[in-house]
Amino acid sequence: MNAVAAYQPAVAGPARETGPRIGARALCEALVAHGTDAVFGYPGGAVLPIYDVLREFPMRHVLVRHEQGAAHAADGYSRASGRVGVAMATSGPGAINLVTGLATAMMDSVPMLAITGNVPRAMLGRDAFQETDIVGIALPVTKHARLVMDPDEVPMAVAEAFEIARTGRPGPVLLDFPKDVLQLETSAPVPAPHELRLPGLLRPVRGDVPEADELVDLIARAERPLILSGHGVQISGPEAVDLLRRVAERAQVPVAHTLLGIGNLDETHPLSLGYAGMHGWMHVNKAIQHCDLLIGIGIRYDDRITGKVSTFAPRAKIVHVDVDRSEIGKNVRTDLGIVADAGDLLAALLRRLPECTPRHAWLAQIEEWRAVSLNRSWHGSGGWRHGRLSADYVVAQIGEASEHQATLVSDVGQNQMWAARYFGFRRPYAHLSSGGLGTMGYAVPAAMGAALAEPRHETWAITGDGGFQMTQQELATIVSEQIPIRIAVLNNRKLGMIRQWQELVYDGNYHSAELFGPDLVKLCEAYCMAGFRVHRPEQVPGVIAAARAEPGPALIDFQLADEQNVYPMMPPGAGLSELIDEERG
């Protein structure tokens, strides 16, 4: 476990080294210069020159058990901290195994860097052993991908990759290094920021946003305004998160959020409405359908939010603020489109907005809807049918036990929706999830990265038994690296969301919904980590406390009721006004 022993904090500021050193050293030096303190990777022939020198640099290497885990871990590292996570893999299969993680990061605008080795330059294009055109494969799932063909280009390529990954709308960048580029010497220095050559990189215009004038007018005239806030607010930074609250209070406009907008506003804030969309709260979706001004900030208006576009927010003027011009008007008709960083727009609004009086009728209407909505689909006793364990209760208990401060990384499917609805989020950067791509298997490896990036917060992975089995090999990583994450497996022994769709959309034709899995407690035993199992609601608080008391990683197998669904649900092809809700006796 020398990786742990060798760990030191990152050096501050770039060290400009110009003496000759091999490409692999130039690469590591550039990573350290850009603040990298951890690399998630897996060795192979083409990257062995890097592994040969890695020990010399103050970076912790986390040896994953599959490269997909490395990519998700780098993604989780980035989302939790705002810094650029780094994943590393060898040529061919190693590189290709990163692709799911790159696409996940791309869809959710996560800055990360993937480093891959390739066959030596003279072998490129000859179908050499473990050769693949990873740049070609990665193009559609990265913000930028580049083959670095000259050792002298290494420091510049790394510097430009960091700049591309985190500038404007962030995204993943892949750098592919032929093996001999890593082995040959170069004297090229780590470039200074002004030396980067990125004339085509979209850099948002920062500062005041004059279009805010028009938005202020719209807010002043609106009777039922609503802010729908997304990931773009947190991507902009903690200041933007703070500004959102102040704008909402000043303008007296309630705030809803998308899945990745969770944490934009403390859910206990009186103006916080909660989670919108396909499995969002009924009262939030009603507010969207009844508002007369919908202000989307840092969102994509994607199909999981809008449902059928033609019936979305039918009474509203729709405003769309995003840093990426291509998002404006892409999915929904827009009455006012503003291309701006979310934080800049919010600051511009705050400068212009007068103190507004509460719109009592609108807020009272929402509260009336909310009172009904919150009590639906909630099993506060912990029991569902026949007193079997209810998922919403489990998630809420984890939230309470961690005083709603934990970093929660959800997987995909029912567990993701339960986590979004019932954890009770209070702070930004606490909820990580594969929102756009919906990548099963994301939770455990991403939680690993999040825990390393932000060790001051306890980190929970909430996953289903399906997603867990997709990347469960990373248990070995968290044990050997002693990364103290807590894993809550919401185990219904099924692909729950598949089963739910088959029940509600495919007339109960259940195919491949039943899922056999291992005995998770025995699995933990095999991996030498703490494992718990819970069958009954009354056991939940005690076992959560026991898992939290473990010094190392721990897993809880929550044996859920069999056929619990997530409600409300927007059926496929339907609009936000057509949600189906749980039938309750």
Binding site: K143, G329, N331
Partner: protein, 186 residues
């Protein structure tokens, strides 16, 4: 006004992109256009007055919103420096075509071939007994007009290069105002 609106009128849009001349840039652009299901009539790429910069002329078919999306998506590519919609702007536009037709059977047929060439900047390259080879260089619609005649004359082989287009306007106001070859401002 979303680009998914399939009922909006589909018209021809000429988009010009200045890009970094690097290996893979064409791949990036082509990959993006394919992945987003943008319909392309033609795409040409070549060097410019500036070293390290290439100019692409991309002809797409769609409504205004569709073209807006094409441009906004292209702008996101790190190797794309600038994208302009030339559709509604004064521009020079030119396309090159090579064709081989049946040798004319008589004076009337030959006159038709020569008439087609005259319409579209044509030049006869070879009048072999096994076939006449010719070159057309004009706006795409004039070339299309000439090809209609040539198809009746027995078009055996055709290669089209796709449009190249150049914006003309303030920066080139010293140019004569009379219509130039392919000058769509006329």
């Amino acid at each position: 006004m979303s680009h998914a609106d399939r009922t909006a009128p589909q018209t021809r849009h000429v988009v010009s992109a200045l890009v970094v001349d690097r290996p893979g840039t064409l791949n990036r652009v082509a990959s993006l256009l394919r992945a987003r299901s943008f319909n392309i009539d033609s795409l040409t790429v070549g060097s410019t007055q500036e070293a390290g910069r290439s100019r692409m002329t991309i002809v797409v078919r769609g409504d205004e919103a569709h073209t807006h999306q094409v441009i906004a998506q292209l702008e996101r590519l790190v190797d794309v420096l600038e994208v302009t919609d030339l559709t509604h702007r004064p521009r020079l536009e030119l396309e090159l075509a090579l064709a081989e037709v049946e040798p004319p059977s008589g004076p009337k047929a030959e006159a038709a071939v020569r008439e087609a060439m005259a319409q579209a900047g044509g030049e006869l390259l070879a009048t072999n007994p096994d076939g006449w080879r010719l070159r057309l260089a004009d706006t795409p619609d004039r070339i299309e007009g000439a090809l209609q005649i040539l198809r009746r004359a027995g078009l055996r082989s055709l290669v089209r290069a796709g449009s190249v287009a150049m914006a003309i306007g303030a920066a080139t106001s010293s140019e004569p105002t009379a219509p130039q070859l392919g000058d769509s401002s006329a």
